[in-house]
Amino acid sequence: MNASAAPDWRDQIFEVLQDHDVKQVYHVPDAGHGRLIEACQRSNAIRTLALTTEEEGIPLAAGAWLGGQRSVLLMQSSGVGNTINLMGMPKTLRFPFLTLITMRGDWGEFNSWQYPMGQATPKVLEAMGVLVYSVETAAEVKATVDAAARSAFNGGQSVAVLLRQKLIGIKNFGKK
């Protein structure tokens, strides 16, 4: 990769989260979000919480908002199903909710177990009233995450950004 090229899109997401004054970041371990998670962990301005399951991120976001803080949930598409019941909370309490989702089972995926939840991810999110934005190229990441954060924190919506597998790269596990 050319070192003088545009900044890494994961670093750009970190900048956007800072610009929007996000104070709490929830995540499960994830390769796609790895670099962003580490940037958040190193930040003194952000509290980073590892979760036991993605579902925990929704009540945490509700509590943070009750206390006047903005948050974001970082997860993989494989964890989206774990959140669906509590995804009703942002609707019922009407608080802003932002989640950034790295996609699996999406584009050239080798692991058949990832396809059902990966393919259902936009549909189940939309069924729960979540606005779904999608990014396939690095050049669109910053503007899309920024727009999502505005829709959430200014517009009071639940918003998910799908970071497509075409953007993240296909996980090979050593296979060619």
């Binding site: 925990e56 976001a61 009750l66 206390g67 509590l86």
Partner: protein, 208 residues
Amino acid sequence: MSANTLKATLQRRPLVKKILEGADDNLLVIAGLGSSNWDITEAGDRPLNMPLWGSMGAPVGMGLGLALAQPTKRVLVITGDGDMLMSLGSLATVASQQPDNLAIVVLDNEKFGETGNQATHTSPRNNGPTDSGAGTDLAMIARGCGIADTATVREASEVAQLVKDVRTKTGPVFRLVKVMVEKLEFVMPPQDGAHLKDRFRQALLGHP
């Protein structure tokens, strides 16, 4: 005789009333759906109460997010055994953050009260074909998750210390309180979630 076969003697409503006595602007309260919601509401509905009408499994996570956002306030989560069983992992996440302003009280009547008093996993094993649980000890689970300050309360003589601990002791504090199975009046707070959230933020932050 194992601890789990002891008969509970504490009544939840007077207990919760004592826990919340003299609640001021420094005390932020989240209650789980069903009985715990009605309990805190009978003690006195107030803007800094966030009683849930749904979202089972959410109170501990909400309490943690709130405690981290408001480190100078005391955050108290009051919920039941059925609700707590649905989000055991959240106790490990609390332990990972060690919020010194968070206390969790689980009112354990060993039943799913809202659906007809079916046994939860905290009910004893071998308690008959329709009323058996697993003897699950939620205080031991909390400790195993990494919350060092945990205890189980069963006696009226322990209540004063319980109240002091959950209101003032350095957190995270976890208290399992064994309470009686009772048929109690529903004492309902406002139901609209957006209203409950807005009045809470108005009282805490000065804006909705």
